[in-house]
């Protein structure tokens, strides 16, 4: 280990960025400082304003019901089984016009007065994202918070699907945080059964071709086709567990999707009104009956438990260990981590049966983890959060903090795809991206630079990694604002 750099590596690469005083506290015990953070339960966000996903989904159903009632006869007539569900708002908005076009202006006026889902979700999102930033900016266990963000990104949901705007924060608090210091299988089960994931990857209405509902639909010759949606099954195998080269086939995806039919959310309208509203519900009527073979193993008909059994088996596959190990190594060690490192982490994963703290300890104890001080280019989130920590910037309830994420190209919980945000330097260090960081740093410099001793701060947050060039540039700055801008744009502050 290169001793002099170790405290900065621990605070800046494994943590979320040093605060003044952190490097001194870490001293000669960088690995211990990280490992100590793994002890005890995972931190909980305590902001009282934060609501459960169930609460949010129940309100969603209320809003949809009110809209539907106000929409009147025509809208109701057009409704098909399952059409009036929690996620169909975005699609309905286009179709709603069909009904509205012939409607009286009186009805339109009633509809206008109703609460709309984006209006419900936006303040929830702002509260959640702000609470997350506040915690990241102030936590004494930044390693755990980085791991939390890692797993949320691994099991990505994205707010460009409108329902996820309301649920992304609750998803992270309910499915990710409780298991970050637990077992991978528990984490996997919690994630795949969470309503946000079932909505995001479209599983909640996926229907087996021979299920009760499908047979009923055939008998009644309803025009709406019911059937499988294989999105969740595919992304579980490709993105959450085995990885794209993990040895599964299209047939495995299709059969796994049949296994997962019935994994749904309680309390929809129409035929699907059973179950506790807003909670995971197994809908027998949607479930494809019979034995199914996934990845060469036969699963006899077992309803809801089939999915759990497949997930447990998939979590234990060597390909999963290698896939998770590769992503961890890429996040913490290098864009292209050495195969030996991936092997060691995969072995630790397999040997401990997915005990995550054991894997994290292996990671911290690898000499490769400490070999290079600037192995990674910060993502915009890393960059903003590390600035907040270095400067102790206040996280107020205004939207200013969140606007930074959008300006720099990483709006919280909006990776835009289930693959999550990419994790290599080339994905983030574009010319335009750099310019935006510089402009942002300039704005921060102007705002708080006059009250900071940037030179002292540079030594506090960069430690031994502070270069002579940067030190000189800061000390020669024309103003406090400019000095701080130079610290925030320095090559060593742009990396971790």
């Amino acid at each position: 280990m290169q001793e002099p750099f170790a405290p900065a590596i621990a605070a800046n690469r494994f943590g979320l960025g040093a605060r003044p005083g952190d490097l001194e506290r870490i001293g000669g015990h960088a690995p211990d400082w990280l490992i100590a953070q793994l002890k005890g339960g995972a931190p909980v966000l305590t902001d009282t304003s934060l609501r459960s996903s169930q609460d949010i989904l129940v309100q969603t159903l209320d809003v949809r019901r009110a809209q539907r009632e106000a929409g009147g006869k025509k809208a109701r007539k057009g409704a098909k089984p399952g059409a009036d569900d929690v996620a169909s708002n975005e699609a309905k908005a286009g179709g709603a016009g069909e009904a509205a076009s012939e409607d009286s202006s009186a009805r339109a006026a009633v509809i206008q007065k109703l609460l709309k889902l984006p209006q419900v979700y936006r303040p929830i999102y702002i509260d959640e994202a702000t609470a997350r930033l506040r915690h990241a900016a102030s936590t004494d266990r930044p390693f755990v918070e980085r791991l939390t963000q890692f797993w949320t990104n691994h099991f990505a949901v994205s707010i460009d699907k409108i329902t996820v705007l309301g649920l992304a924060g609750a998803f992270e608090r309910e499915a990710i945080r409780p298991h970050v210091l637990g077992n991978f299988t528990d984490l996997l089960l919690a994630v795949e059964r969470h309503p946000a994931m079932l909505l995001y990857l479209d599983n909640y209405l996926s229907t087996g071709p021979n299920s009760r509902l499908a047979r009923m639909a055939t008998r009644r010759q309803t025009e709406r086709k019911v059937g499988i949606n294989e999105n969740l099954a595919r992304e579980i195998l490709e993105l959450h567990t085995l990885g794209v080269n993990g040895g599964y086939t299209q047939q495995d995806v299709t059969t796994f999707a049949q296994v997962l039919t019935g994994w749904s959310i309680g309390g929809n309208f129409g035929r699907l009104r059973d179950g506790e509203p807003g909670k995971f519900t197994f809908r027998e009527a949607l479930h494809e009956p019979g034995a199914k073979t996934v990845l060469g193993k036969r699963y006899s008909e077992d309803g809801e438990s089939e999915g759990k059994a497949v997930l447990r088996d998939v979590a234990a596959k060597p390909a999963t260990a290698t896939f998770i190990a590769t992503k961890l190594a890429r996040h913490f060690i290098a864009d292209e981590p050495p195969p030996s490192v991936v092997e060691k982490l995969a072995k630790s994963f397999t040997k401990s049966h997915g005990d995550l703290p054991t894997v994290y300890r292996t990671l911290v104890e690898l000499s490769d983890s400490w070999a290079q001080p600037f192995a990674k280019f910060k993502t915009p989130t890393d960059y903003i959060v590390s600035s907040y920590r270095a400067l102790d910037l206040p996280v107020d309830t205004s939207r200013r903090g969140l606007a930074s994420f959008e300006l720099l190209g990483q709006r919280t919980w909006s990776p835009g795809s289930p693959a999550g945000w990419p994790d290599r330097g080339a994905d983030w260090d574009g010319a335009s991206a750099l310019m935006k960081r510089i402009e942002w740093a300039d704005a921060v410099g102007q705002r708080v630079g006059a009250h900071q001793n940037a030179l002292d701060l540079a030594a506090q947050v960069l430690g031994a990694t502070l270069s002579d060039d940067t030190r000189k540039a800061i000390s020669r700055a024309a103003s406090g604002a400019q000095a701080l801008t130079l610290l925030l744009t320095a090559p060593e502050f742009l990396r971790r």
Binding site: Q67, A87, E90, A91, K92, A93, G94, G95, G97, E98, A100, S101, D103, A108, I111, Q112, K116, P118, D160, D202, L205, S206, E223, R224, K225, G227, I228, N229, E230, R234, V244, Q250, V253, L407, G409, G416, A426, W428, D429, G430, A431, S432, A433, L434, M435, K436, I438, E439, D442, A443, D469, A473, A477, Q482, T485, L486, T489, A490, P491, L494
Partner: protein
């Protein structure tokens, strides 16, 4: 870039802001040809059977159920291309371009990739190899490096990525710029100078900063030479009128507001693209992407989710043509996606990942008014793996045709560096006006 050059940029930028034409001191190489090329990546897998409905195929309506696009002439029917294919009714600019013989539509196309992962599919679409992750560089960048006389000026940017970061297709040995709209104030020159100095020993950051400054100078240039063009061209018209019903509720009004904000950003990107490409000494090639095509649920047909996206894409292309002015005559725009979607709709009124897709080549330089497709049909026995439109044309054949005939990339380079192992994907010839 050294400091002196950067100052020249800023000077040039100031001149441009005053209405004077910029001098040729910018860091973009003088292009050896007037040809311009735009590559638009539709990420998420566009449903080609809705964008370009094969209404004349006997199996189409059955497979698509209530999201099938009706035949031309019926209510909300397709725009007629020929007796088999139509265009989605929101693709009006594309329809006009087809009539003006400036659009070629390709159907049943696919890259060599045959699995169904978005991310690997996009990787292959961009890397130009046969397999995902086979290369850290993209085909368009390698083509730039191989284009005639570009070697001598390899430090100069011939391409620009409209986004904060450079997508894989544009990464590689040739130097490219990136640009995206900013809401932040510009820095004072002294601070920029000092940051430039601070990056002197950091090759990556100094290069990126120089590129960013060059790009800013051009992108923010006012469209002074377009002053006499139709003013309405500047109006964002992303929301297709057909999608906005009469008596729309506040939900729709809000949605329109959101769309307007998104479209304003999109229009800014389109306008910057045009600014870059209009310049005689500017880049030849621009790349940007559009997302939101992954329609697993509630896809919609003539109206709905996908229809709105198609309308926005179409309006963006119309704006691009208007902003490009005369340069449109030398321009070709290729629009492609990583793969198609299932032939049949799924259980949630959407479509899952498929194989054969549609693609478009549009522009004043294009020999258009044609659909190029060896149509495999949609009967159960002709579907790929019993579920997807079977691909009959390799996307690389289109790309090779564009690079060879439009950008004059030598055949040897096309076969070797740009698209390795592509001998069976012969370049399509005749895509451009003589």
């Amino acid at each position: 870039m050294n400091r002196l050059n950067r100052r020249q940029f800023l000077t040039a930028s100031a001149l441009a802001a005053g209405g004077a034409l910029m001098t040729s001191r910018l860091a973009f190489a003088s292009a050896n040809t007037t040809s311009r090329f735009v590559f638009i990546i539709l990420r998420g897998a566009l449903d080609g059977l809705t964008a370009v409905p094969p209404y004349g195929d006997v199996d189409y309506a059955r497979l698509r159920g209530d999201i099938a696009i009706a035949a031309p002439g019926s209510a909300n029917g397709a725009i007629k291309l020929d007796n088999l294919f139509g265009l989605h009714s929101n693709l009006r600019f594309l329809g006009d371009s087809y009539t003006a013989r400036e659009l070629v539509v390709f159907h049943a196309v696919a890259s060599p990739y045959r699995e169904r992962s978005h991310f690997d599919g996009q990787d292959v679409l961009e890397n130009g190899f046969v397999r995902p992750h086979a290369s850290q560089s993209g085909w368009l960048n390698r083509a730039l490096a191989a284009a005639p006389s570009n070697g001598a000026t390899s430090r100069k940017e011939l391409g620009v990525a409209l986004g904060q970061n450079v997508p894989l297709v544009m990464r590689g040995p040739a130097s490219v710029a990136s640009w995206s709209p900013s809401k932040l104030a510009a820095l004072d020159e002294d601070t920029l100078d000092r940051i430039t100095d601070l990056y002197a020993r950091d090759p990556v950051l100094s290069k990126r900063l120089a590129d960013a400054l060059a790009a800013n100078a051009i992108a923010n240039e006012p469209a002074s030479d377009l002053a006499d063009s139709d003013d309405s061209s500047m109006t964002p018209q992303m929301a297709p009128a057909a999608d906005v019903p009469a008596g729309s509720s506040q939900v729709l009004a809000k949605r329109e507001q959101g769309k307007a904000a998104a479209s304003a950003r999109y229009v800014e990107v389109i306008r910057a693209t045009a600014n870059f490409l209009r310049r005689d000494d500017g880049p030849q090639i621009a790349v940007f992407d559009a997302t939101g095509w992954d329609t697993h649920a509630n896809e919609g047909g003539a109206q709905g989710q996908l229809a709105a996206r198609l309308g926005a894409l179409d309006a963006g292309l119309r704006t691009l043509k208007e902003q490009l002015g005369d340069t449109w005559q030398n321009t070709a725009v290729l629009i492609a996606t990583e793969f198609g979607r299932t032939a049949a709709i799924n259980g949630t009124r959407g479509t899952d990942h498929g194989t054969g897709a549609a693609a478009f080549l549009i522009g004043g330089a294009v020999q258009g008014g044609r659909v190029i497709s060896d149509w495999p049909g949609l009967s159960a026995s002709s579907l790929y793996e019993g579920r997807d439109l079977k691909p009959t044309l390799d996307t690389r054949s289109i790309m090779k045709g564009v690079l060879a005939d439009h950008l004059r990339v030598p055949t040897a380079a096309l076969e070797k560096e740009v698209f390795p192992d592509s001998a069976r994907a012969k370049a399509l010839s005749g895509l451009f006006r003589a």
